[in-house]
């Protein structure tokens, strides 16, 4: 395997810390940039993300032109808080209301393409406890400074915040190491050079995102990576080391569900690409067991695996962006 890509297309966030240079280049190239935060009950972290990005990358340096929150129907104060701090806030179900609505992160990202107008879209998970504006400018940096780069993805150390106000130094990225990396090694060894294929922080040009399908749930990162790789090759992708990201810990069962969705997305992709031929349809239920009152009871998580088509195929989108 040629690992030139790793050397050539891997960056550290400090390489882009001259934000005024990024702003100059952005203006020179006549680009606009939108930041989208997909949310579902993120009242503990959303305000900080909005405040820091607004303060540093909208007020101090005019790098970001649009800041939108697309919410999956939070039952806490996420939308209220986000509005209070000046983000444009949408309920996912209110966007493109004439088409059937689904619930999930991928759905929010896909719909963000419709409501934003910018050339570059940055997607950031809304549960980052140690948010810093480098999470945005470092992802945007390669896209602005290098003409060949169309999609950039974050990687980092992932300490976990436990419930006791202490930080555990390791333990993140279990689904990456146990699920997606072995799969990539088996089917797309070149893509193993991507340190964290499942990271929820990435940025890319509209012209890329609008031409790929979006699974509505957790599988969106997997499918996005495989689709961009298949369509444009590895050289349009960059990865940026963001140093450290503190996130909420998830239990093994929740990770199991996430792994299930990712495996399903992966299987669908490799079949679609003709790499394998599955002789029978795979199931869409993840079955876990709970021990309740001396009995094992199944806990069934059903995932339909709905996938949104490339948004460029949607007539409302074509109309909004004057695409013939």
């Amino acid at each position: 395997m040629d690992n030139n890509w790793l050397k050539k297309n891997t960056f550290h966030h400090s390489e882009f810390k001259d934000i005024s240079r990024l702003v100059e280049e952005k203006i020179r190239k006549n680009l606009t940039i939108a930041l989208c935060l997909p949310t579902l009950n993120e009242e503990k972290t959303i305000a900080k993300e909005i405040i820091i990005i607004k303060s540093e990358l909208m007020t101090r340096y005019p790098l970001i032109d649009e800041l939108v929150v697309v919410d999956s129907g939070s039952t806490d104060n996420t939308r209220k808080i986000a509005r209070e701090y000046g983000a444009e806030v949408y309920k996912a179900t209110d966007i493109l209301p004439d088409i059937e609505a689904f619930k999930g992160k991928g759905e929010n990202l896909w719909k963000a393409l419709y409501i934003t107008n910018s050339d570059i879209i940055v997607y950031l998970d809304a549960d980052i406890k140690n948010i810093h504006h480098r999470f945005v400018y470092a992802l945007v940096g390669p896209l602005i400074l290098f003409d060949n780069i169309k999609f950039s993805k974050a990687f980092y150390d992932r300490p976990i915040a436990t419930g006791t106000s202490k930080i555990r130094p390791t333990g993140g990225g279990r689904v990456t190491e146990l699920v997606i990396r072995p799969l990539l090694s088996l089917f797309f060894p070149e893509l193993t050079q991507i340190m964290q294929p499942l990271s929820g922080e990435y940025a890319g040009y509209r012209e890329v995102f609008e031409k790929i399908p979006f699974p509505v749930g957790y599988g969106v990162e997997t499918s996005m990576l495989l689709d961009i790789y298949e369509k444009w090759g590895l050289d349009v992708i960059a990865q940026v080391d963001l140093d450290r990201r503190v996130h909420r810990n998830q239990d093994t069962k929740a990770l199991g569900k996430m792994a299930f969705v990712i495996l399903k997305t992966f299987c669908n992709r490799i079949e679609k690409l003709g790499i394998v031929n599955l002789n029978k349809e795979i199931f869409d239920e993840m079955i876990q067991y709970n021990f309740v009152r001396n009995k094992y009871e199944p806990d069934i998580f059903k995932i339909k695996g709905v996938e949104r088509p490339p948004i460029i195929e949607i007539s409302e989108y074509r109309k909004k962006f004057n695409i013939m």
Partner: protein, 385 residues
Amino acid sequence: METYLDKLPSFVDAIKSIKETIIANIVFIGQVPAPTFNEKRRTSVFMDRLAEAQVDECSTDGYRNPIAIIRGTSQTKPPIFVVAHLDTPFDADIDHNFTIKENSIKGPGILDNSLGAGVLASLPEIFRKLNLCFESDIVLAGVIQSMGKGNLRGIRHLLKTWATPIRGAVCVEGVDLGRINYYSYGMIRGEIDCNIPAAKEWEHQFKPNAILILNEVINQILQLRLPQRPRSRVIIGKISGGFKHGTIAYDAKLCFEIQSDSDKMVKAIHNNIKDIVDGIGHESGVVLKIRTISNLRASKLKYDHPLVKSALAIMEKLDIQPINDPSESELSIFLSNNIPALTLGITNGENYHLKNASMEIEAMFKGIAQLIGVIMAIDSGICDG
């Protein structure tokens, strides 16, 4: 005086309009752990924020206190100091990530004193927003090694080595809005350690208990007759020791503070406590040691000092209820160097020294307006002559 007093209420909304910048500074600085003696990383972030705000000068002094200067229009007026201590009482391994809600920021150290440091770092942008420039240079100093065993070393060093006169100073603390400190008690902060050599199994049941020894020390301290005038008191602040439930404690520590508005009285009480410690140590046959970890001289501005009067007028204009208390902080060092100074609190908060300390956002804008008012008052010459 009237001119700037009248402007103050309108400052509140103008300051609020850049709330993202102020909150971002509080978060960036406050999320970097800074236990006393380990403030290096926070110092560096604090300086980065001031450099980003394009102050005229930004560097550290010989003791590594970070200092920024906003140049004034006058060549002759002495500088005005605005200081906030950078250290907090929390260890580095505690999760320092703050949570922001609609009207609160929560996290360890937010009130003492990440909020103060964040506001200090925001002042250059706030001055720009309010279109303010001053005759005096404004020196923004984040001082290190302030709390506990730090014994205010940062500010002591800064003032000892500052070559020119200082026109006046404001110390910025997180809470409470309305706090106005203009005098400091004389103070000695000390620790009493009791150590008993570890026992062999057979003597386990008969050896003295370090906790009970300290209990006797406390009893005797409480029997001291302290005068009403000069006002004096001994605070038993912290006690720790022992190993487990079923083992006689072989070590214990007592932390105390003597406060009085007379330095002589502080010394006298300290000597009394020393006698108690020597006596009990001698009679019990244990190692009982007393040591001083910090001390301060009593110092004060008079109530009718123009700085105090102006600050109270500013508070009244902003509808802030003043809360008057002594403060053993950077203020003492300014006052004992004959520099007119005040300590002001910025907002309201709860759970002061707990991990879940929380500050109120909305009240902060008034607290900052009050701080700006006091800086303007000093710049108008109220402390001169």
